[in-house]
């Protein structure tokens, strides 16, 4: 399965955007995970909606906006109103925790805004409103297998809709209120996005072609690529983003494996078309 990458976006502590990410790599510098996320407000949203978005929704929207803006500048004649796919393991961890706490109190009070922001497809909903886009909007969770399932679904959806598709894969750590171990609360957020077209190869673009193949999982995971962002599932995307950023100077020697589930992996390689 092949698909042209048309643009890329990324947000994490220490990564402002894809250009910044590439520059840090080129300079051989380390990513500073202690930095706060860059301040962001989704200016494309009507003010009523803009006031209501949470931290989680902002990360997802910022990352979506980066990939779409680059795509629109680079390909002004390409299809508008792209279908979107938002992939996240836990959705909005802060709101979920707050709501569970609220229903344990007397009286149990959930705010209406909190409730409608709690749906897993809230970022997708806000995105479509802000873009006046009536296309298909999907929101999925594949647990820890976010990257493999997200990429596969994007490529298949692009094929079936015969259009490029915008995918955003984002995860935040679980909230401090949650009754889980401290490790899952200590991770840093990570979000990345791509516009992918499975219907054509564009040799002139600055991004490579993504090539996916499915196979049975091997006993030992052979990929030991260094990843400073290990933690939330979306952060697995770091190795792919790095490979994309370095494709022209340091092409991948072997495919990257992403687990699709306990039993299979997706091999991802990058080519020039």
């Amino acid at each position: 399965m092949k698909a042209q990458i048309l643009s890329v976006g990324v947000t994490a502590p220490g990564i402002v955007n894809f250009q910044d990410f590439r520059q840090t790599l080129q300079a051989g510098e380390a990513f500073d995970l202690s930095l706060p996320l860059e301040k962001y407000s989704p200016s494309f949203l009507p003010s009523n909606e803009r006031r209501r978005v949470t931290q989680t929704i902002k990360i997802a929207l910022k990352t979506a906006e980066e990939a779409l803006s680059f795509f629109q500048k680079a390909f002004p004649n390409e299809a508008e109103n792209l279908p979107v796919l938002f992939v996240s393991k836990d959705g909005d961890p802060q709101i979920s925790a707050k709501m569970c706490q609220a229903v344990s109190e007397d009286p149990p009070l959930i705010s209406p805004i909190q409730f409608h922001n709690s749906v897993h497809n809230a970022p997708a909903g806000y995105w479509m409103i802000g873009q006046s886009n009536q296309a298909t909007a999907n929101a999925i969770s594949a647990g820890k297998y976010a990257v493999a399932n997200g990429l596969l679904e994007t490529v298949l959806q692009s094929k079936s809709e015969k259009k490029p598709v915008l995918v955003v894969i984002y995860d935040l750590p679980l909230d401090n209120l949650m009754p889980v171990d401290a490790l899952q609360k200590s991770y840093v957020p990570f979000a990345f996005s791509m516009v992918i077209d499975a219907n054509q190869v564009i040799p002139s673009t600055e991004f490579p072609v993504l090539s996916l193949s499915l196979e049975a999982a091997k006993e030992q995971g052979s990929m030991e690529e260094e990843n400073p962002y290990t933690g939330v599932p979306a952060a697995e995307g770091y190795t792919l983003l790095k490979a994309i950023a370095e494709h022209s100077v340091k092409p991948l020697k072997k495919p990257i494996h992403f687990s699709l589930n306990q039993h299979s992996v997706i091999n991802v390689s990058l080519t020039n078309g």
Binding site: E49, R52, S88, K89, D90, G91, S96, M99, C100, Q101, A102, V103, S104, P108, I110, S111, P112, Q114, F115, H116, N117, S118, V119, H120, N121, A124, G125, Y126, M128, I129, Q131, S132, N133, Q134, A135, T136, A137, A139, I140, S141, A142, G143, K144, Y145, N149, L152, E153, L156, Q157, K159, S160, L174, M178, P179, L214, L260, N261, Q262, H263, S264
Partner: protein, 413 residues
């Protein structure tokens, strides 16, 4: 894409015969005195609760998944021998050639609520296998030993309708031979209090399309279908029903209110019909999203009125009066209702409708559709002369997320 088998558990019962009997007789599963009411003493409403669900036992090897949502998934997988049919397909094609895609809006969040309320000890709680949004797919795959691609769709109340679109893509790309598609959503406090905070919960039985409708009754349900499109599979299928169209759209209007003219609803229905290569005049029955909130029913009927003039009768009804609004499971519940309605040739009643809302009537009249629209107040059994071939199910969710799924009865017509 053919429906090879299905299974459903809701407040009406377990499996096809209990559901079809209740639908034919017009018996509701909603109650104002369900056990869950004891947890929400401050809210007066009707609920579609599944009796004794909390007593469903999971096998030992799956016990770490213990929560109401996974208990319902388990119960639904056992109904009508569904799990055995999956095992037969695994033997035929291999576990890696079976995909699984399921919808839910709140997964097993009830388990986290219980920990916060001091009803469940933290050491007996496993977030990743209960509340975590992807856990339903993981549970079902482990329960069935399915090894193909799998994930959860969570787009609020359209979740388990959109799974049909994923199934189409997987089968078309030939990465699987069979897809298990479905949805499970169970009663939890965040949902009931959340909808109540939005003023969308009715104190009475929900009254879709009625002039005095004032909100939803929340229900719970779990359902699954087996989907495939290979000839050898279809020959052995119990059902002759095909999924001929899936349409998806966004309102791009408001995060929790539907578009007043039903633009997104209209688009989803049009896309489903276009994929099937038919028009509204070919559709015999639309199972409405029909939640009985003032805004949903207005939006949906507006969307239908914009479709076109109908030259023959079009039955429409909401079955929310039977099972309540089962949220992330509403899609699969009502699509299976459509499957059974086509198989057994009946049109389910729109319960609790006393006076059709004149505003809705006006919408349909201005499109010259009022005379053609038939809303059955009692379930209608069809005949050889008066039969139906196409049924469409609508599901719309928060975030303006819409899906319509169109089914066709095989054979004649």
């Amino acid at each position: 894409m053919h429906i090879l088998a299905s299974s459903l558990v809701s407040a009406l019962g377990s499996g096809k015969s209990e559901h079809v009997n209740a639908l034919l007789e017009g018996v509701t599963g909603l109650s104002s005195k369900a056990p869950f009411h004891s947890k929400i003493t401050e809210i007066e409403t009707y609920l579609g609760e599944i009796d004794q669900l909390e007593n469903t036992l999971l096998p030992d090897e799956l016990s770490s998944f213990q929560c109401r949502n996974n208990q319902l998934a388990w119960k639904a997988l056992q109904a009508d021998g569904f799990a055995q049919k999956v095992q037969a397909l695994i033997e035929q094609f291999g576990a890696h050639r079976i995909g699984l895609v399921v919808g839910t809006s709140t997964s097993g969040i009830a388990a986290t609520e219980e920990v916060f309320r001091g009803e469940l000890a933290p050491e007996q709680y496993d977030y990743e296998k209960t509340d975590q949004m992807g856990s339903l797919a993981q549970f079902c795959c482990d329960a069935l030993n399915v090894q193909g691609p799998s994930f959860v769709i969570s787009t609020a109340c359209s979740s388990s309708a959109k799974v049909f679109s994923v199934a189409q893509r997987w089968l078309h790309a030939d990465i699987v031979d069979v897809v298990i598609a479905g949805g499970v959503d169970t009663l939890c406090l965040t949902t009931v209090h959340g909808f109540n905070a939005l003023g969308l919960v009715s104190k009475e039985l929900c009254k879709p399309l009625d002039v005095s409708r004032d909100g939803i009754n929340i229900g719970e349900a779990g359902g699954f279908v087996l989907l495939g499109d290979k000839n050898r599979l279809v020959e052995s299928a119990e059902s002759s029903i095909q999924v001929v169209g899936v349409g998806e759209s966004s309102d791009a209007y408001h995060i929790s209110s539907p578009h007043p003219e039903g633009q997104g609803a209209q688009l989803a229905m049009q896309l489903a019909m276009a994929q099937a290569g038919i028009g509204i005049d070919d559709v015999d029955y639309i199972n409405l999203h029909g939640t009985a909130t003032p805004s949903n029913d207005l939006s949906e009927i507006s969307g239908i009125s914009h479709l076109a003039n109908v030259n023959k009768p079009l039955w429409i009804s909401s079955t929310k009066g039977f099972v309540g609004h089962t949220l992330g499971a509403a899609g699969i519940t009502e699509i299976i209702f459509c499957q059974w309605a086509l198989e057994e040739q009946f049109v389910p009643a729109n319960l609790n409708l006393k006076q059709f809302d004149p505003v809705l009537e006006q919408k349909l009249a201005s499109a010259l559709m009022m005379e053609k629209i038939k809303v059955p107040l009692k379930t209608l059994s069809l005949t050889k002369e008066l039969n139906m071939a196409y049924a469409m199910s609508n599901s719309f969710g928060f975030g303006g997320n819409n899906a319509s799924v169109l089914l066709k009865r095989g054979g004649e017509k």
